[in-house]
C-alpha cells in the first residue's frame, strides 16, 4: 500500500501556499496532519497530481485570544489544542472532544483544521464547531471569507471550501455563558470514529434555569446536525432529569442516520437520545 506518484510542494509561507492552491486547484490536495490523507494515499483512494504540504507554514499554527474567544490556526496540532490553557478556559468543549479523537499518537500529528476540512461524518471536531457557533476562515489568493460552522458542512465529506481556498483559521467566539459542556460518544472500540457522538453546551442562570443550549451530533448524517427541537425545549427549563429526558425524546425526530457495517440507523437514532441525556447530565455535573 504505497502512495501513487505526485509532485510535492512544501511552501514556507501562507502566500506561497495560496498561490499553489490557486495554480493547481482540483489537481492538488492539501497535506495538513496527514492522519486522514495519508491512509487515502496509501490506499490509492486519492491520486492527486500535486500535494501541497502545509507543515512549514508556521503562521498557521498559532493559538491566540480573540475578542474574548480563541483563534486557532488551521495547522494547530490537536495535541497542542488539547494542552492549551487558553482553550481550556475559553472553549473546554473542544478539549473534551479531543480526548475522543483517535489516540494521542494520531493527535500529535493531526491538525484541527485538517479534521475540520476533511469533514468525516463521524468526526468529533465538526460537531464541536457547530455547537460553539465557530467561524471558519477561508482564504484564497484573491479573497478571505468567514463561514459559520453550520454553513461550512454541506454533505458527506463536502465543505464549502472552493478548490482554490485553504482553511486558515478557526474562530471560537466568547462562550456567551455556554460554560457547562460535555462531549459524549459511543464507539465500537476506544478511539474509533463515533457511532454517534454529541457535543453539549448549556448556559445556566443563578437559579439553574437553562438560558441557552446546544446539542450538536456527529455520526447521524453526512454532516453535523444540531438538534434544534431539543435545544428549544431546554431553553427556559430547570436543568435536571425531567428537562433532559424531554430533550432526549425530541432528538430522534430530527436525525436521519444511515446504516453501515457498524450500526443500523435505528440503533443510531435510539442512542442519540440516550447520549444527549448523558451529555447534558455530564455538562452540569
Amino acid at each position: 500500500m504505497k502512495p501513487p506518484p505526485f509532485d510535492y510542494r512544501s511552501p514556507s509561507s501562507l502566500d506561497e501556499a495560496l498561490a499553489l492552491r490557486s495554480e493547481y486547484a482540483y489537481d492538488s490536495v492539501v497535506l495538513a496532519g496527514g492522519q486522514s490523507l495519508m491512509p487515502m494515499l496509501n490506499l490509492r483512494l486519492a491520486r492527486p497530481e500535486v500535494l501541497i504540504d502545509l507543515g512549514r507554514v508556521a503562521e498557521l499554527a498559532e493559538i491566540s485570544e480573540l475578542d474574548g474567544g480563541v483563534s486557532l490556526g488551521a495547522m494547530t496540532r490537536q495535541r497542542s489544542a488539547e494542552r492549551s490553557d487558553l482553550i481550556r478556559g475559553r472553549a473546554p468543549l473542544l478539549q473534551q472532544a479531543l480526548g475522543h479523537v483517535g489516540h494521542p499518537t494520531i493527535r500529535n500529528r493531526g491538525t484541527v483544521g485538517g479534521s475540520l476540512a476533511h469533514a468525516d461524518p463521524a468526526a468529533e471536531l465538526p460537531a464541536v464547531c457547530v455547537a460553539l457557533d465557530a467561524e471558519l476562515v477561508a482564504r484564497s489568493v484573491a479573497s478571505e471569507r468567514t463561514i459559520a460552522a453550520e454553513d461550512f458542512y454541506l454533505g458527506f465529506m463536502t465543505t464549502a471550501l472552493a478548490p482554490d481556498e485553504l482553511l486558515v483559521e478557526v474562530r471560537i467566539p466568547a462562550a456567551a455563558g455556554l460554560l457547562r459542556t460535555a462531549f459524549v460518544e459511543v464507539a465500537r472500540r476506544h478511539g474509533d470514529f463515533a457511532l454517534v457522538g454529541v457535543a453539549a453546551a448549556l448556559a445556566l442562570d443563578d437559579a439553574g434555569v437553562i438560558t441557552d443550549a446546544r446539542l450538536a451530533f456527529t455520526g447521524v448524517a453526512g454532516l453535523p446536525v444540531r438538534a434544534t427541537d431539543a435545544e428549544a425545549s431546554l431553553r427556559g427549563a430547570l436543568a435536571g432529569p425531567e428537562a433532559f429526558a424531554e430533550a432526549a425524546g425530541l432528538v430522534a425526530g430530527q436525525l436521519q442516520p444511515r446504516t453501515d457495517a457498524h450500526a443500523t440507523s435505528d440503533y443510531r437514532r435510539r442512542i442519540a437520545g440516550v447520549l444527549a441525556r448523558r451529555a447534558l447530565e455530564e455538562a452540569i455535573s
Binding site: 500500500m1 502512495p3 501513487p4 490509492r44 472500540r189 476506544h190 470514529f193 457495517a261 440516550v274
Partner: protein, 781 residues
Amino acid sequence: MSSVGAARFVGQSVTRIEDGRILTGHGRYMDDIVLPGMLEGAFVRSDLGHARIASIDATRARSMRGVIAVITATELDGVVSPLRVEAEIPNYLRPVFHALADGKVRYVGDPVAFVVAENRYLAEDARDAVEVDYEPLDAVVTMDQAADSALPALFEDVGSNVFYTEAMNFGEPDGAFAEADRIVSAMIDSARVTHVPMEGRGGVADYRPGTGELTYHAGSQAPHAVRQALIELLGHPAERVRVVIPDIGGAFGQKAGPSREDLVVCAAAKLLGRPVKWVEDRIENLAVAGHAREETIEISAAVKDDGTILALDAKMRLNQGAYPMLGTPAPLFGWIVRTMIGNAYRINHMRWSLDVYASNKASYSAYRGPWAAETLAREVLIDRIAHELGLDPVDVRRRNLLTLEEQPTKMMSGPTIEAVAAIDTLETAAELIDYDGFREEQRRAREQGRLLGIGFSTYIEPAPGPPDFFAAIGFTIGGERAVARLEPDGHLTVITTQAPHGQSHETTLAQIAATEFGVPMAHVRVLYGDTSTVPYSSMGTGGSRAATMASGSALHATRAVKQKALAYAGNMLEVSPDDLEIVEARIRVKGDPDSGMGLGELAAAVYASPPEGEESDLRSVALFNAPTGGGYSGGTHVCFVEIDAETGIVDIPRYEVVEDCGSLINPAVVDGQVRGGVAQGIGIALYEHADYNEEGTFVSSTFLDYLVPTAMEIPTIGVTHFESPPTDEVNYRGVGEGGTIAAPAAVLNAVSDALGGARVEQLPLTPDRVMALIDMAGERT
C-alpha cells in the same frame, strides 16, 4: 550431591532468548530481508467475487519504469503445475485450480497477475496499469446459495458447490431422544473472521541461475510442507530446493501450509533469474490470506428434567470459500468437531451431519482451534438447557461432566480419554470466583437496573491428542523428531521441527535441553526452520503439538547425547558412566565436585577422536510419539459482563481461566498463550467479522472495518494453573489454542445470563444486536 533435578530451568519463567533481538529492533522479518539484485512484486487481484476473465492486457504495465515482468497464468503454464487437494477424501469434491487465476476469478482478491519491479512502489504503479476485462457471473455467497444448484458452480470440473456431506450416528440416538423429558435446541451462527497476524504473509525467492539453487525465505509454520509444494508443483529438483524461515510476526494457522502466492513468487524468481520478494499488505491480508469460523451448528439435546443429557443431534455447515487450502482440507475440521463435541461430558449418543460448501469467498484456513465450533455450540446449548429447565448452569455441567473415577472412558466418537480433570477445573473456577456471591451481587444489581452476567465454558482439546484421536479423525500425523548435537566447545545445539512465530520455543526447548544436559541456558542454541538441517515434518508448528512433541523429542535427543558424552567421559576417566553427572557444564563424579572435566574439554577430545560408530558431534535424533494416555488439555473459562442497557455496549470487567495443561515448562509463556487466545476469542464474540455483501464484495477491508480488540477492550485475565497428576515424564501439553476455543462461548453465555437467559446465538454481538436482544428480553418479562 545428587544429579541435577529436572526442574532447574523447567518450570520457571525464564526470560526469553528471543527478546534480545525483539526488544532492540534487530529481529529479521520478511520485509527486512534484502538480497543483491532483489526485485519486489505485487499481485493484481480480482475486485469481483465471481467472473470470467475475458482478457488481461499488461502492455502498458510492462512498459512502465522499473517493471521487469508481469506474470499471468499464461506465463506459468508449464512452470507451475495445476493444484488439487492431494488427500483422497471420499466424497470430497477436489477441483483443479491454478496458482494464478486461469480463465475465472472466484473471490475478491483472487490473484490474476504478478507484477515484478524494482521496488514495491513501482510494482503498485504497474499493477494499476494492468487492465483485466471481466464478465461477471452470479455470486454464490451464502451457504444456502451454495446449496442451490440453480446458481453457477464455482468449479466446472466438479459441477457443484456442495463439496462434502456426511451423516452418521454414534450410539443409539433415536432411542435416547425417545427417552427425553424435553428437547432443547440452539442454532449457533458463528461469523467469518480472520487471523490478523500483525505481520502478513510473504516470501523471498532466491534463485541462483548459476547453480539452479532455489532458496525460499518463507513466512511459514511448516517449511517442509512449503518445500514439498515447490518440489511437486514447480517441478524443481528436490536437492536444489531449500526453505528457510525468518522471524515471523504471528500466524495462528494462517501460514500453516503452502499458498498459491508462494508458488508464483518462486516461479517468478526462476523465470527472471533474480531474487523476488513479495510482502502482503494489510488490505491483502484481510481479504485473501485466509478466513475461518464461518460455520453454523444446529444442535439439540435430549435431556431429562434433572438436566442429564442423553443425546445430541448436531448439524454442522461450513463455508470453505472458493479455493481449498492444500494441506488441511476443510472437512477435517468438521471431523474434529464431530470427534470432540461430546468433549469431557457423559454423552454417548449423537446424530451428526456435516455439509461443506464452496462460495465466492476467501479460503477457509485453520485458525487457532479450528474445531472450536464444538465447544461454542455445546457450551451455549448447556446454558440453554439450564435456562429452559430452571437449573443452574454450573449444576448442569456438574451433572454431565465425566469424573476422574469414571475414566478411562471411551468417547462415543472413538478416542479414549483418561485423567481428564475438566470437572475439577469447573469446581476450582466456581470457587475461585465465589459463584454464589456473584449471584447475590447480580440480584442486587438487577434491582438497580444494571445488567450483570456470568458465563462458563468448560472444554478439553487435543493438545496434541493421543494416537486414537488421530485415528478417529482419520488424519495421521505421527511422531516428531529433534536432533541434539554437541558443539566443539561443549555447547549444545538442539534442532527442532517447530517453526515458532511467538511461541517462545527458542527458550522453552532450551530450558528442557539445558536442564536435561546440565548446562546453563546460554550454552544451548535451538535451531529451526531450515529444511537443509531440520528433520522432515509436514506440520511444523500447529495443532498444539509443541509442548508435548517438540519437548519430548528435544528431551530424548538431549538425553541420548548426554548418555554418549557420559560414556565417553567414563572411558576417559576410567569411571562408570553411572557414577558421572553433568553440572554447570562440567562432567564430574557424583559427590566429588572437583573431579572430572569441562564439557569443552570433553568435546575437544570427542571431536579429535569420536567413539566407534559415532559422529564427532555425538548427534542423536529422537523420534517422539505422544503418550498413549493423556494428550488433552482443558479448563474452564468464566466471563463476567456488564451490559449498558441503553447502548448495548458489552463490557468485560473480569475474566478467569482455570486451565490444565499438565506440567509447565515456562509459566509466563503459558499465561501469555492463554491470554492471547482469550483476546482472540473475545474478538470473535464481540468485534470481528470478515464480511461480504450480496455481490460477494469483501466489505471488512481495512482495520477501520475489521475491528481487532485493543488494550481497552480486553480485560485483565486471571489464569490459574490446575496441574493434574502427571501421567508421563513428558507431561507438558499444548495450551496455545484453548483460549480461542473456550472464550466465545463464555462471552455469549455471560451476555445471555445478563439478559435473563436470552437466546444468544449469533456472532459477533455488535451493540445493535445486543440492543435487539435487550428489547426481546424486555418484551418477555
